[in-house]
Symmetry: C2
Subunit: 130 residues, 2 copies
Amino acid sequence: MHLIIDGYEGDPHRLADQEVVRALLDTVPQEIGMTTIAPSYVCRYEGSKPEDWGISGFVLIAESHLSVHTFPERGLLWADIFSCKSFDADRLMQAVQEAFSLREARATLLGRGLEYSEELAPTAGRAASP
Amino acid sequence: MHLIIDGYEGDPHRLADQEVVRALLDTVPQEIGMTTIAPSYVCRYEGSKPEDWGISGFVLIAESHLSVHTFPERGLLWADIFSCKSFDADRLMQAVQEAFSLREARATLLGRGLEYSEELAPTAGRAASP
C-alpha cells in the first residue's frame, strides 16, 4: 500500500527544521513495525524562486520507503510511504500531522504491493519461474 | 505531479542488477529536465521469505524524488517520481519500461505539487505570511 499525504498550513519553523524531518524518518518506521535498511538522508534545497526552498528527506525501509518534502514559506508538506506490505496508515498520518503541526492534510491511500499485484496480474509471481 | 509505475513480468536479471537501477536514477532526472540534489542510493534487501529480495534505490531531485523497488524473482517493480513541478511522464514511463524490459506496466498520474496545492488550498501559500 502507498499512503500519500499532502499537508497544508504547517508550522514554518518545524517545516524548516532538518532535525524534525530526520526525527520523523528515524522513529516512524519502527513505530509501524518496519525495518530501516539504510540511514536516513536529509538535506536542504533551494528552488528557482527565493521562497521555494525547503527540506527533503527519505529513508529506505525493507521493501519500502518514506519520503518528505517541505516548503516552509508556503506551509506545505508532501510525504509518501510506500510498502509492499500493509501498515497502520492512521498512525503514520497522525505522526506526520503532529511533527509539522499541519492544520490541514489530505491523505490518499493506494492499493500497491505484493498482495495487490497478485490480484491484478496473476502471472506476475511466475515471471522468474522456469 | 506524481507518476506511479507498477511493473510486471520484467527481466529478472535486470531487476536484480544494482547497476541498472543506479543508471536509471543517475540519468533519468537530467533527461526530464530535473536537477539531482544528492547522490543516488542503491542497496539490496532481503525480505522475510527467500524469494522476497530485491533492489531499492532512491535519488533526491530539487523539490522531488525518484524511487525504485524491485522483486526480481517475482518479476515486479514499483517506481515513483514525485515533483512539485510538471515533467514528461511518457518519457519517464518509457525509460523505466526499457530499463527492466517490463512486459506489462500500469501508470497512475496524480495531481500533486505547487500548482495543484494552490488550487486545492488557496490559503496554503500564505501560511508563513505575517
